[in-house]
Assembly symmetry: C2
Homo-oligomer: 261 residues x 2
């Protein structure tokens, strides 16, 4: 499992303040912290960017790229901000992401072709909702793939996010079992080794006791990893979660196991 | 996942001493502790019982059954001890277990028919070894099933143990990935919802750092649970492992999730 930090998000007050005051220092510090914690890539989530979207994305990209060469996941629904970020990319970049919503198909998906980069497709309905049944998830994956090909992109550009639901949602646990199942069948369904990503922190969003949240995240992450998940989007500054993720990778990928690693 | 305590084993010095001196007190205490910790069944592992096998098994069964009504897994290769234990059973009992080794087929498997109880079949070769390839595991499962039917037992009597390997074995991680895969395919392979059991403690046997061992057990247990494992055989007196197991069950089985449970 490749670890993607979800820490650089506008919901983090440190990030919000830095973006507001255009102060690159706290952004750089956070990125350095994430890299030291052993992350493989960084998700940049500046929120909806209702004011000065281009300027803010350029500020973020500059701040991040000044301290790391890691791949960056540009996580915004604002296509102007996305274009601006893609334009000044020096690091490998992934667009995060598109869905069957018409605005995303029209304005986000073409950017992956224009800039020749990977793009994440969400298993959401054309109205942006989490679908109710596993059959729907499967059909949406096929539809996303068809749209990707229509846009002139290679298979290898696609990464699928089946969208982990918060456990406190009414059908959260049932939906998440479908997520495990769909991750497992996607490569055969699409006919190539499609990559997948899941947001581990989504599982426990909302109120709840910290100890049980940690257990839920660690347990579900192991299940996702065993299902074949490629990228885990998670809080890289939670050492016990990262240790769990590393252990999962060793159980699932290593040929020779050693406790010393 | 149904939790089976592996604590009542002759490798536990408290148990060894109690069996040696025929003192039921420590055995009863241990069983009460296990039941208070929330176990669903108890494995009784008296070792090879080279001396006075019947007498020792009767002593253990009496001590255990005097304080619990939980199902008991009789975990010995000594068929005389097994018979003696089965003869005085009051609790539900499972024979643990048989394999394709000729002595097991001749002397252990028939006891399941004679006493009309469930029996565990190990995915081991006819020489008692862990097989090298996944194809072998599959073939052995089919062979065990055929032997079970030949012995006149119902499908529903069978529980399969694919035998988790210690991670420090040369091919331990590779074998354990096959274990996950075979647990997943067994119900379709045999054509009925066959139950499965795995020894979680096996994974980390041998020397190694306690913290990493715990992570490995929790991670692999979640993978086993997601693969569909029925029974987890584990150290019930390890609260964090039990909390993980309960969380896995809730993620995989609950319709409505609540942090309060």
């Amino acid at each position: 499992m490749i670890l993607v930090a979800d820490n650089l998000t506008i919901t983090n007050p440190v990030v919000a303040r830095a973006v507001d005051t255009m102060d690159p220092g706290p952004i750089r510090n956070l990125v350095v912290q994430c890299e030291e914690a052993g992350v493989d890539a960084i998700d940049i989530n500046p929120g909806p960017l209702s004011k000065n979207p281009k300027e803010k994305m350029i500020f973020l990209m500059d701040a991040v790229q000044s301290v790391t060469k890691l791949p960056l996941f540009l996580d915004t629904t604002n296509h102007e901000a996305l274009s601006a970020g893609l334009e000044i990319r020096r690091n490998p970049v992934v667009i995060n992401g598109f869905s069957l919503e018409p605005a995303k198909l029209e304005r986000i998906l073409p950017l992956a072709k224009e800039y020749d980069v990977d793009i994440i497709g969400y298993l959401l309905t054309s109205t942006g909702c989490v679908p109710a049944r596993e059959d729907d998830l499967v059909q949406i994956a096929l539809d996303l793939y068809r749209e990707l090909k229509k846009a002139g992109l290679d298979d290898t550009r696609l990464i699928i996010d089946p969208v982990v639901a918060p456990l406190i949602w009414q059908n959260g646990t049932a939906h998440n079992r479908q997520v495990l199942s769909v991750i497992r069948i996607l490569p055969e369904l699409l006919g190539f080794p499609v990559r997948t990503i899941a947001g581990i922190s989504n599982l426990t969003s909302g109120p709840g006791p910290a100890g049980k949240k940690r257990l839920a995240e660690q347990s579900f992450m192991a299940m996702l990893a065993a299902a074949g998940l490629t990228f885990g989007l998670l809080n890289i500054l939670r050492p016990e979660l990262i240790s769990s993720a590393r252990m999962c990778s060793r159980l699932l990928n290593s040929d020779v196991f050693s406790w010393a690693e």
